[in-house]
Amino acid sequence: MEVLQIIGALITLLGSVFLLLGSIGLVRMPDVFTRIQTGTKASTLGAILSLLGIGIIYLDVAGKIFLLIVFILITNPVSSHMLARAAHYIGVKKADVTVVDELEDFENEKQKNETQISE
C-alpha cells in the first residue's frame, strides 16, 4: 500500500509541475490567443494529473475524482474556445509574429461572395 501512495504523490508532483509551466507561459506569451492556448492545454493536463494522484492515494473517493476529471476534460476546452472566439470578434490585437488567421480569411471570403451575389 505504501508503494501505491508514493506513486500517487509523484503523479501529483508531476501535475503541479505542468500547472507551473502553464502559468509561466501565461506570463511570457506575447498576445491574448497564445496565452489562451498555453493556459488551457498545460493547466488541463496538470489538473488531471494532480487529481489522478489524489485518486490513487484515496481509492475510496476514486469515483468522485473520475467525475471531476471528466468534467474538467469536457468543460475546459469549450470555455477557452468561446473566449478565443469572443476575443477575435471584439478585435483584440494579434502579435506581430502571427502567421495564419483562418477565421479572418473565412470571414473575408464570405463577405466577398455575398457582394458578388448582390451585384
Binding site: L13, L19, D31, A47, L68, M82, A86
Partner: protein
C-alpha cells in the same frame, strides 16, 4: 514520505497561483484577465484536492466539483457577453 512530496506539490501550485496573479493585475485587455481567472480556478481545484488530503476530510472533493461548475458557467457567461452582449 507521501506528506513531504505533496507539500512540495502544494508549494509549486502556490507559486503558479502567484505568477497567474501577476498576469491578472498586469493585463493588456479584458480577455487577458478572464483567462488568468480561468487558470486560477483550475489551479484552485487541484489545491482543494490537496487540502482534502492534509485535513483528512475527503468531502472537500465535492466542493471542488461545485467550484469547477461555477467557474465554467462564469467564463461562458463573460464570453457570451463579450461576443453578443447577452
Amino acid at each position: 514520505m507521501v506528506n513531504i512530496i505533496l507539500q512540495i506539490a502544494g508549494g509549486i501550485m502556490l507559486l503558479s497561483i502567484i505568477l497567474t496573479m501577476f498576469r491578472f493585475f498586469k493585463a493588456g485587455s479584458l480577455v487577458d484577465r478572464v483567462i488568468a481567472f480561468d487558470v486560477m480556478t483550475i489551479i484552485s481545484i487541484s489545491l482543494i484536492a490537496l487540502i482534502s488530503h492534509f485535513s483528512g476530510r475527503t468531502i472537500y472533493i465535492d466542493v471542488a466539483i461545485i467550484y469547477g461548475l461555477l467557474s465554467f458557467l462564469g467564463v461562458i457567461i463573460i464570453a457570451r457577453y463579450l461576443e453578443k452582449s447577452l
